[in-house]
């Protein structure tokens, strides 16, 4: 109790008394009395970088200005956030930023969501008083996922901080100095030759249109208008609880059925669900885990492999973990493989004519679909096109679909039904929980009495614990936010060197903080608050599901009966499993 009292700071913002938690910044204190201070570089996910200069505020009786983002609150501090002088300074700084940023808003991908554009509107900027000088560097289109446009970059540094601190990847850095500063990989290499794992967190945090997902909406439009193409679409778990935000619905609103109907209106011939293959993944990966645990075949711990950014990271930074990786493909790739085999056979459609589309919360998925030949296990590209949630939202809007009003529909059979376990694949801890539900069944032959495995839920960057499967103790760990994974993997390496038992038996890793719900392709302005709401959405989707465990999903039972045989069968192995290889951190 005493500690609680101590951690509250009393201060004033524009004369109004504020009580605020010690350790928070002036931005947060101002927010408490409904005062917004403009900032372009600050993001709640990141430590204050203090670059843009817009958030300057005054301390009473002090000539020096403070940066609201970087100044911690103090007892008795009295702050003025808005007055004539501050307005003029902010306007001048904004005009300076605009003098180095192209005024091509109409043709920019961030038109309408750009934070700089918003401030220019709010400050009523009507002319460019200062000589405009733009960076004349070409776009970096080297990756299949992300486009870097240095001409639009305002050097706020968010992407660099995300890439280095949140993700631990260090693909992006400030290069050069002064007004020659650019943000790029070391030695100005193309992004594709850098350590970049394509997670897209840079694009999700960029306040302007300088880092952007590779837009492939036109490929979709072309495909659906081609009468020779049979367009089949799958939708990832995390999309359903975030897409609504693009249509002003609260974060976490479940829009699964509207998504199905919107896709049909967009011209999809069949609408399936990646959640089905999430269940399929659990069947394969869960069986693999049980086999590793009970027969000693394969390395312990087993580490999840459904996140393509994580897989890329592992192949570059931790190739010694390859034997520990589950050989199961990601749900998206499994769905693509069974679409062009099982579904094609059942529906008697030439798989060559099937155009397989995936709606994903993730930019790395654009890279994953063609990462190697295993992604063509059907004999064709298992997935032809990946669209992010953001691209999908634009597509819906451009097609005149009133997303808020359309009636919801159901997914198509036979690979569209899902259990609650499949839907929580979209959040941190979800794959672990889904696997535990089925592993329990595989080991004991019984159903888990309480399928809500609270122990593995939460937002801590690294979580570990022990799961009791009727006497069999399984030590598990979960990491999300790529920079957090090192903590766990170094423990494993250390145990290996010391010749000790591995500290964990099963590890779930997701590259993005919060998991896929906060993937690099999700709607903008993601914060922990929004992450939590989206995660709550997925858990409620799970709660209301008829089946909670993957092995209970009738379509899963059916596909093994009719087509795959059993988990890890030869056919399953061919279609649903893959291999990994060590990759260079820098290509050259």
């Amino acid at each position: 109790m005493r500690r609680n009292q101590l951690s509250i700071v009393h201060m004033k913002v524009n004369g109004m008394p504020v009580e605020v938690e010690a350790g928070s910044n002036i931005l947060a204190a101002a927010k408490k009395v409904n005062v917004n201070i403009p900032t372009l570089c600050y993001h709640p996910d990141l430590p204050a970088w203090a670059a843009c200069g817009l958030c300057v505020v005054k301390q009473e009786n002090s000539p020096k200005l403070l940066r609201a983002c970087a100044t911690p609150v103090q007892e008795n501090l009295s702050i003025i956030t808005h007055d004539a002088e501050l307005y003029q300074i902010r306007k001048t700084v904004l005009e300076l930023i605009l003098s180095s940023h192209p005024s091509t808003c109409l043709t920019c991908g961030r038109n309408g969501t750009c934070e700089l554009q918003r401030f220019a509107a709010e400050f009523g900027i009507r002319e460019q008083p200062y000589e405009v000088r733009l960076v004349d560097l070409p776009k970096d289109t080297s990756t299949t996922s992300i486009v870097l446009d240095p001409s639009k970059c305002i050097k706020c540094g968010r992407c660099v901080q995300v890439c280095q601190n949140m993700q631990g990847v260090y693909a992006l850095e400030f290069i050069g100095r002064g007004d020659q500063t650019v943000i790029s990989p070391a030695a100005s290499l193309p992004l594709n030759d850098s350590p970049c794992i394509k997670c897209g967190q840079c694009s999700a945090h960029c306040p302007v249109g300088a880092i952007f997902e590779k837009d492939e909406t036109q490929s979709f439009v072309k495909a659906v208008s081609d009468p020779d193409k049979h367009v089949v679409v799958q939708v990832a778990p995390a999309v359903r609880v975030a897409l609504g935000e693009a249509f002003n619905l609260p974060a976490g609103t479940i829009t699964t059925n509207k998504i199905y109907s919107a896709l049909r209106r967009l011209g999809a011939d069949k609408v399936f669900d990646t959640n089905f293959s999430a269940d399929l993944t659990i069947m394969e990966e869960g069986t693999e885990l049980v086999r590793r645990l009970t027969t000693g075949s394969g390395a312990i711990p087993q580490i999840t492999s459904c996140c393509p950014a994580w897989t890329d990271y592992m192949e570059k930074y931790y190739p010694d973990m390859i034997p520990n990786f589950s050989t199961a493909k990601s749900p998206m790739m499994m769905q693509g493989a069974v679409t062009k085999t099982y579904y094609a056979e059942k529906a008697q459609i030439d798989p060559a004519k099937i155009y397989s589309v995936a709606i994903m919360p993730c930019t790395a998925k654009k890279f994953e679909k063609s990462r190697d030949d295993n992604m063509r296990s059907s004999g064709f590209a298992d997935v032809d096109l990946v669209l992010t949630t953001r691209e999908f939202a634009r597509l819906i809007k451009a097609s005149g679909i009133d997303f808020l009003e359309i009636e919801g529909e159901e997914a198509d059979s036979p690979i569209g039904m899902y259990a609650g376990a499949g839907t929580i694949f979209g959040n941190t801890g979800g794959v672990m929980e889904a696997a535990i539900r089925t592993a329990y069944h595989l080991i004991t032959g019984e159903e888990l009495p309480n399928v809500n495995v609270e122990a593995v839920r939460g937002m801590e960057g690294v979580r570990s614990g022990e799961v009791d499967i009727k006497g069999t103790k399984v030590k598990v760990a979960i990491a999300h936010g790529m920079a957090n994974v090192a903590t766990i993997l170094e423990e494993i390496r250390e145990a290996r060197v010391m010749g000790k038992e591995p500290p964990y038996q099963f590890i779930e890793v997701m590259a993005c903080r919060g998991g896929c719900v906060a993937g690099g392709g999700q709607p903008y302005s993601t914060t922990d608050d929004i992450r939590n709401k989206r995660i709550a959405g997925l858990y409620s989707d799970d709660e209301r599901s008829t089946y909670r465990c993957s092995h209970q999903n009738p379509e899963i039972i059916q596909i093994y009966d009719e087509f795959l045989g059993e988990p890890l069968s030869e056919k399953a192995h061919h279609l649903l499993h893959t291999t990994y290889q060590e990759r260079k951190i820098y290509k050259h």
Binding site: A50, I89, V93, I97, I154, F174, R177
Partner: protein, 595 residues
């Protein structure tokens, strides 16, 4: 004295680059050749400060001050002065003096100086620890280790009123006290030797001439605040200073003055050198610490201050070279002694690198409160070539200009800031009537624009915008509106930039616009550069009445812009002229005119 004579040869970088090394070798060889090696010790010292007249050789005990010495002069110095006891008159600074001996104290350059920081520069061999010890070196350390408590040391600094010499003037005792009070498993001491102001070399000379004073002071600080490790962050462009620091550190370790169990006290302290790549912004303390940690040198917001959270997140005392060099003297002579020097607001002395259009450029150390006029006219000997004084720039590229109306301002932290300039680290550049104030402002601004780290928008973009406007003005394309824009941008930069580099970068512009508005207006309205510097605004022509047709200018003109018959007045074709000024220099009859 063990030797009859001592020959001190300046071994500062400036004299070294004018063959001081060869002079030293020649003197040693001559002494041997002339059989006086036993009677004479030749010593290579640190900088004498009087760089204008280098290379400098001083002979003791006569105190004869030889200037602009060449290696060839060694023979005569030895044969005349050492062997025969007669000064080599032609090499003396004061050649015409009627006095028997021309002593250093008679030289006006030194008369108003008071040397605390530079006390050993030019007196001792910086590569010989014994010479430092002979001048009470490491006595202050001994005193702090055995006779004083850490609080005594901080109190002594408090009484002395020493303020940081790196520019900001923050009370040194407070910094130390903050760090001392924070509990931490590790603390650090850092010496900021990343001197970057154009034309400034105070810190370099101090380290070259008296490296032990800094090592001793850092060790004292380590003991006072509870740190065991120090770092000296120095730019790689200072090889001589680095070499001398390395030699000094090696000798200190051998003498038990650095390393484990210093002087048997049980206190461990050691120092490492970290080389900087020469980025100006790394002189900013948080950027410097980032650079030591191996990260890109970019400032971060304060608080937390390094004293509380510094290197690798640990409490860190970071002081500039000159501040460090003051510490041992203060400990030895006591706070009250130091407190009495200077002005009520600023105590002690300040070292300046006096350069520009000055007769005696060099390194000077004067008590706080000395006026600009005394420094420029008495120490500096006035303006070179009898030109008219125009302004003096203090505080390096981030300072402002001060005009002749304010020459009697006593120098201290407060008064220079009031004039729109600043003390800075001690650069002082004098300008004369030939300097165009807009051009000068442009020069400084271009420096800070180039050296901006690029992190914060006001500095990164504002600096470039200002530089472009100045460029426009010097090309004759400026408008009156540009003056307002410059004040707008400059104001925003001062208030909203993250670190001192951006906050002070507009100073040269804002102060020159304030003091020399007429000159800006001449450029903008009349499209004229009164100093004749801005090429776009001047034309060269030949006064036909003065020209005698000697053809000298025509022959020298690199672009054949000058034509004319012999013995007939010449003309310059403005379309061809590149305004290089060679004709002006060549003409002996004053016929070439610039307008």
């Amino acid at each position: 004295m063990a030797f009859r004579n001592y020959i001190l040869v300046c071994g500062g970088t400036a004299c070294e680059s004018s063959k001081a090394g060869a002079i030293y070798d020649a003197l040693v060889a001559e002494c041997r050749a002339q059989g006086v090696s036993q009677d004479v010790q030749v010593v290579k010292t640190g900088c004498f400060g009087f760089c204008e007249q280098g290379p400098i050789v001083k002979v003791l005990p006569e105190d004869s001050f030889y200037v602009q010495v060449k290696p060839e002069d060694a023979k005569e110095i030895v044969s005349e002065h050492i062997v025969k006891g007669r000064e080599v008159r032609r090499l003396l600074y004061d050649k015409d003096s009627s006095k028997k001996h021309a002593k250093v104290e008679d030289i006006k350059f030194y008369q108003k100086q008071f040397r605390i920081v530079l006390r050993n520069c030019g007196f001792i061999d910086p590569e010989n620890i014994d010479e430092y010890i002979a001048r009470e070196g490491y006595v202050a350390l001994e005193k702090t280790l055995f006779d004083m408590t850490p609080d005594d040391v901080i109190n002594e600094l408090k009484i002395a009123g020493l303020r940081g010499r790196g520019g900001a003037g923050f009370p040194t005792w407070m910094k130390w006290n903050f760090t001392k009070q924070v509990e931490a498993d590790e603390k650090y001491i850092v010496c900021n030797a990343d001197e970057g102001d154009p034309g400034a070399y105070m810190d370099r000379s101090t380290l070259e001439g008296d490296p032990h004073s800094v090592l001793e002071a850092m060790t004292i600080a380590g003991h006072t605040v509870g740190a065991r490790q120090g770092f000296i962050y120095i730019r790689a462009e200072y090889p001589l200073a680095i070499h001398r620091l390395e030699v000094a550190m090696k000798q200190s370790r051998e003498y038990g003055l650095l390393g484990k169990n210093i002087l048997g006290s049980g206190f461990d302290f050691d120092i490492e050198i970290r080389l900087g790549a020469g980025a100006f912004v790394c002189g900013e303390e948080t950027a410097l610490l980032a650079s030591i940690e191996g990260r890109r040198g970019m400032p971060v917001p304060r608080p937390p201050f390094p004293a509380v959270r510094g290197l690798w997140g640990k409490p860190t005392v970071i002081n500039n070279v000159e501040t460090w060099a003051n510490i041992p003297v203060i400990i030895l002579k006591g706070g009250p002694w130091f407190e009495r020097i200077g002005t009520p607001d600023s105590h002690g002395t300040k070292v300046f690198a006096l350069t520009g259009k000055i007769r005696n450029s060099g390194l000077v150390e004067v008590p706080m409160g000395t006026t600009l006029r005394e420094i420029i006219y008495d120490v500096g000997g006035g303006i070179a070539h009898d030109k008219e004084f125009k302004a003096v720039q203090t505080g390096g590229p981030s300072g402002g200009v001060i005009t002749k109306d304010y020459l009697d301002t006593p120098i201290d932290f407060g008064s220079l800031t009031k004039l729109g300039s600043m003390m800075g680290s001690g650069g002082m550049i004098v300008m004369d009537e030939d300097d165009c104030i807009v051009d000068v402002a442009k020069f400084y601004l271009n420096f800070t624009v180039d050296e901006s780290c690029g992190k914060c928008a006001p500095c990164r973009i504002g600096g470039r915008s200002l530089a472009n406007i100045l460029d426009k003005i010097t090309k004759g394309n400026g408008t009156l509106e540009d003056l307002d824009k410059m004040e707008e941008i400059g104001g925003a930069m001062k208030k909203a930039s993250l670190c001192a580099l951006g906050q002070t970068a507009p100073n040269p512009i804002l102060s020159t616009v304030y003091y020399f508005k007429d000159e800006y207006l001449a450029h903008i309205v009349e499209k004229r550069c009164p100093a004749g510097k801005c090429k776009s605004l001047i034309t060269y022509s030949i006064n036909t009445e003065k020209c005698i047709g000697c053809t000298a200018c025509a022959r020298k003109c690199p672009v054949q812009a000058i034509t004319g018959e012999r013995r007939a007045p010449h003309t310059i074709d403005p379309a061809l002229c590149i305004k290089c000024g060679i004709c002006l220099e060549t003409c002996k009859f004053g016929a070439v005119e610039v307008r």
